[in-house]
């Protein structure tokens, strides 16, 4: 099968780009991991329209309905429930869906595969009962799942606040909320005037915080949070004002922001830049979303965290950029100006500098006995030991310890290993590279590869 463009990801950016491309008469196929369009932000939005959770999920979620409707109406070829495991020059996209593999060729590729929550290892984070806030919110969107028992939230950023509000609205309970954010710096507050451009966004955040304060369950200025239990989460402990506090807990939900999904652009050898404030790599793109590799475009959170509104605009811009790249005789600059896409992007970005400055990733060193690589169960201590015995390179540590070699391929431990190697060598984190990402991008069986047909060598 062959298309002008393959779009990977059917979230806000991927859908917006695909609709834009289809409008311009360009043949496009959208490939997505999920069984229905919407990405993580609008996960299950079509199915949930008639569910009791729809109202509680809020306005931003409900806006997904019109985006998915426009996506379907555009008559775009769409391959849901598919895992992309390899992208080759030419461009060839190898994927598996329903146990069978296929190769789709295209002149250009748009990676709109979004973000993941930043994994932050702490003692006990592998215990059943501990999961991310984002995970709990996805469960709410998939079958209306509410956590039971004493539910604690520990984290920073807008998502835990939003989730707590949604949970309370649906009759769920939050036993306590540990705000792990640092005190706002003057630098962070200097972004406040620009943030006023997104007044409703700002007010929404303040309302969440106010509601939470009033509930009397907010805990601040904590250190050394850990989860304990024998094979199952039973308690959490933390230090506050020099005292150790303990609470019985049923479910602990954690969140320390989100980072772009970079495995695909890393494997393709695209250039990346280090964001030292938010501590992540993002592919370097030009004003049309094109990476350092011709014909590989990126839109949405995969190119740097901006949220769904920025993602939508960047998808539209990338759509025009790809049309320009394909040289189909349109004036992309003019279309971009007429749709006022740059103004839209600026407005959508208004709150971001404040959020990025307010919610910086935690910089507490990881204790030696904490598991960093969840798949291969490698502790921070073993990683430090290997890092001391080798050149300041994550590859050497990986080879010595197996960290990053499990099924998740370093998606959980990548940044922690990088930070540990930097710490041991007394280097700035951004000076240490990320894991070398090799195919397959997702596990694929020999049987699935054997179903491949008509692939030119």
């Amino acid at each position: 099968m062959s298309y002008d463009v393959v779009v990977i990801g059917a979230g806000p950016a991927g859908m917006a780009a695909a609709v834009q491309l289809a409008k311009l008469g360009i043949s496009v196929c959208v490939v997505d991991e999920q069984p229905a369009p919407g990405g993580q932000i609008w996960r299950g939005v079509e199915r949930n329209a008639t569910s009791p959770v729809f109202k509680a999920l809020g306005e931003d979620y409900q806006k997904g309905s019109s985006a998915t409707a426009a996506f379907h109406a555009a008559g775009i070829d769409y391959q849901p429930a598919a895992q992309v495991w390899q992208i080759e020059d030419g461009w060839k996209v190898f994927l598996t869906a329903e146990g069978k593999s296929r190769c789709i060729t295209a002149k250009a590729i748009l990676l709109a595969n979004g973000a993941q929550e930043r994994p932050v290892p702490f003692a006990g984070w592998t215990l059943p009962g501990v999961m991310t806030v984002g995970a709990a919110q996805i469960l709410l969107k998939s079958g209306g799942m509410l956590p039971e028992g004493d539910v604690w939230i520990a984290g920073a950023g807008p998502l835990p606040l939003l989730y707590a509000t949604q949970l309370l609205e649906l009759g769920g309970k939050v036993a306590g909320y540990i705000d792990t954010s640092q005190k706002p710096s003057l630098k962070a507050l200097s972004h406040l005037p620009a943030a006023w451009r997104d007044f409703p966004g700002l007010m929404k955040g303040l309302r969440w915080i106010w509601k939470l304060r009033r509930s009397g369950k907010l805990v601040r200025n904590t250190r050394n949070l850990r989860a304990t239990g024998d094979g199952q989460l039973r308690q959490i402990e933390w230090e506050s004002n020099g005292k150790t506090r303990k609470r019985d807990v049923g479910v602990l939900l954690v969140h320390e922001g989100v980072v772009p999904r970079i495995h695909e652009t890393m494997a393709l050898g695209c250039d990346h830049d280090w964001n030292d404030q938010q501590k992540y790599f993002a592919p370097r793109v030009d004003q049309w979303g094109e990476t350092s590799r011709k014909g590989i475009f990126v839109a949405g959170d995969a190119g740097g965290i901006g949220g769904w509104k920025v993602a939508t605009v960047s998808g539209e811009i990338a759509g025009l950029g790809i049309a320009r790249f394909l040289n189909i005789g349109i004036d992309a600059e003019k279309l971009r100006r007429e749709a006022a896409l740059d103004d839209g992007r600026k407005r959508a970005m208004a709150l971001r500098p404040l959020l990025d400055a307010l919610y910086t990733p935690p910089q507490t060193p990881i204790a030696d006995d904490v598991v960093v690589c969840r798949c291969e169960e490698v502790t921070a201590g073993r990683i430090r030991e290997a890092a001391r015995a080798s050149a300041p390179d994550v590859g050497a540590v990986k080879a010595a310890t197996r960290c990053g070699m499990g099924p998740c391929q370093g998606r959980q431990c990548g940044y922690s290993v990088q930070a540990l190697v930097a710490e041991v060598n007394n280097l700035p984190v951004g000076d240490v590279r990320f894991f070398n990402i090799r195919p397959p991008l997702k596990p694929v069986t020999l049987g699935e590869i054997a179903t491949l047909q008509d692939v030119e060598a």
Binding site: S51, G129, M131, A135, S142, E148
Partner: protein, 99 residues
């Protein structure tokens, strides 16, 4: 650890699945990963130490929700919607070549 809001609103579940052979009511929109959080003793056992894990990320990046689904091992549970009659079993260690 989790329950569906639907459980209090509907008289009957949307479907029945079998978790470790036990009949379990389930709801539209649920994935294999959500059932792992509602039924005891079905979380995967790691290939390294054998300890039990439960779904962590729900968005396809942590691989903690691996399960045996209708006889197929190492299925990423959070990406697999439940279907009526589906059989879900605990994933013990790593999958073998040829399975």
């Amino acid at each position: 650890m989790f329950r569906s809001v639907m459980a209090g609103l509907k008289e009957q579940a949307d479907m029945t699945v079998y978790v470790n052979g036990v009949e379990t009511p389930a709801w539209d929109g649920e994935t294999v990963a959500s059932i792992l959080l509602r039924v005891p003793n079905v979380g995967r056992q790691t290939p390294v130490s054998g300890e039990t894990r439960l779904p962590y990320c729900q968005m396809g990046v942590c691989f903690e929700c691996l399960a045996v689904v209708d006889g197929v091992p190492s299925v990423q549970g959070c990406l697999m919607p439940l279907k009526d009659g589906m059989r879900i079993e605990r994933q013990r260690g790593r999958r073998e070549v040829g399975q």
